[in-house]
């Protein structure tokens, strides 16, 4: 790692001030992506502002049909939370497939959402559930938040504080993990929300997480794997790498979407 200054912020305001004063400073939450990035010398921040302990970023609350999770909540806290398991079990299940136990003991949902890795799991849940990303400056709808691979609506110095998930009628996540890394080769989160069925795809898109609107229309009429049979994701918009071709990923998306749909409705 290149040298940097480590500072632990005591309040959200302090963290925001430090980040605003230094454009080369970076916020550090669980560090499960940032620290490996630094170790590989792919980034050279001047300062790491540790926000993991901030009270403003902590806590899980279920109120008026909305599950709100603090950005610095670690994966294991979400996966093990009796509240999350009861009111949004699909999210608890998704989180328990992230990486491995040691990583889930450190990594945070806010870090993952702010990083917007194209193969991360959390963005699929945020997008499909039509969640709101609450920052220290404003509230951003999921549809506006994710703007392409490793790109979000966050401005310099803007921090994710909480994520508010309106509770769906039902939801499910199906993931085809890469057998070695556990990252999604394709992951599909389907939610029956107040504004209809929403289908979010991670791991496969060339521009990160995206909504598969054709599948939303088809599943609104018939929530089953069979409803997807005649559909095809355009391979042109998918990611191709050493792990799989575009066409392979297109097929995986369809199969995962079918599994998630079947998990909700019980219909194949």
């Amino acid at each position: 790692m290149y040298s940097f200054q480590y500072r632990k912020a005591k309040t959200l305001q302090e963290a925001a001030d430090w980040l605003a004063k230094d454009e080369d400073a970076k916020a550090l939450s669980g560090g499960m992506t940032l620290l490996p990035t630094l170790k590989a010398r792919l980034a050279q921040p001047s300062q790491l502002i540790d926000i993991a302990g901030l009270a403003e970023l902590a806590g899980i609350e279920n109120k008026n049909g909305v599950l709100t999770i603090g950005a610095a909540t670690r994966y294991y806290q979400i996966a093990n939370s009796p509240v999350v398991r009861e009111v949004l079990p699909a999210l608890a299940a998704l989180i328990s497939t992230v990486a491995d136990p040691q990583v889930r003991n450190r990594g945070t949902i806010g870090g993952s959402v702010a990083n917007n890795d194209p193969a991360a799991d959390s963005p699929a849940a945020v997008l499909a559930l039509n969640a709101t990303v609450i920052t220290n400056k404003r509230e951003i709808a999921a549809d506006d938040f994710f703007q392409g691979m490793f790109t979000t609506a966050l401005e310099p110095g803007e921090l994710v504080v909480k994520i508010a998930f309106p509770l769906p009628k039902a939801a499910a996540y199906a993931k085809f993990p890469h057998p070695a890394s556990g990252y999604a080769m394709a992951g599909v989160f389907i939610a029956q929300t107040a504004s209809g069925i929403r289908v979010a795809v991670t791991g496969a898109g060339a521009s990160g997480v995206f909504r598969w609107t054709e599948a939303e229309t088809a599943l609104s009429k018939n929530l089953s794997a069979a409803a997807l049979e005649k559909l095809a994701v355009s391979a042109d918009d998918l990611n191709e790498d050493i792990h799989g071709s575009r066409e392979y990923r297109a097929q995986l998306v369809k199969v995962m979407a079918g599994r998630a749909a079947a998990a909700i409705s019980g219909k194949k």
């Binding site: 480590y6 620290l35 170790k39 136990p101 040691q102 003991n105 450190r106």
Partner: protein, 156 residues
């Protein structure tokens, strides 16, 4: 420089470290606790697994400064009063190792796993060990050892 105080295996350790010092390096180079191994150094293999505030973490992917004020347990701190921890005893009895490089991390993960799941199922064991890689054994005896460790823990 960061001024840190970390309780390691029950002993308070204060030191000035460079801000970028990894917890694994602090344990190995400063405290000379070399039982914590650094294998891949990319948070995949789990050889560097220790406990921070009771939870298994990969110490190669944590700054020493992030552990300021925390309680850390390494493989050296697992045995109590000369008696092996159930995970250590089980790995010995089940021959759950060959070269031994991954073993400290495997045992630290196992200790955390059987604390969370006192009677783990095969699935819980296999998923629980996802963050630890062994290149010798093929895992069969490791899975046996985790089950045995749970039984030893229950019996103690």
């Amino acid at each position: 420089m960061a001024k840190i105080t970390i309780t390691v295996n029950g002993v308070k350790q204060s030191a000035d470290v460079e801000d970028r010092t990894l917890l694994a390096n602090f344990l190995r180079d400063t405290l000379k606790l070399t039982g914590t191994h650094v294998g891949c150094d990319t948070s995949q293999c789990g050889a560097c697994t220790i406990h921070v505030d009771g939870r298994a973490v990969k110490s190669c992917t944590m700054l020493a400064a992030q552990a300021d004020g925390a309680e850390v347990v390494t493989i050296e701190g697992l045995a109590k009063n000369g008696k092996l921890h159930p995970a250590q005893a089980a790995f010995t009895e089940c021959h759950a190792l060959q070269c031994g490089f991954c073993t400290p991390g495997m045992i630290m993960t196992t200790a955390a796993l059987i604390k969370e799941h006192p009677a783990p199922t095969d699935e819980q064991i296999v998923h629980g060990l996802e963050g630890n890689i062994c290149r010798c054994t093929g895992y069969l005896n490791i899975v046996k050892a985790v089950k045995h460790a749970a039984a030893l823990q229950k019996g103690k």
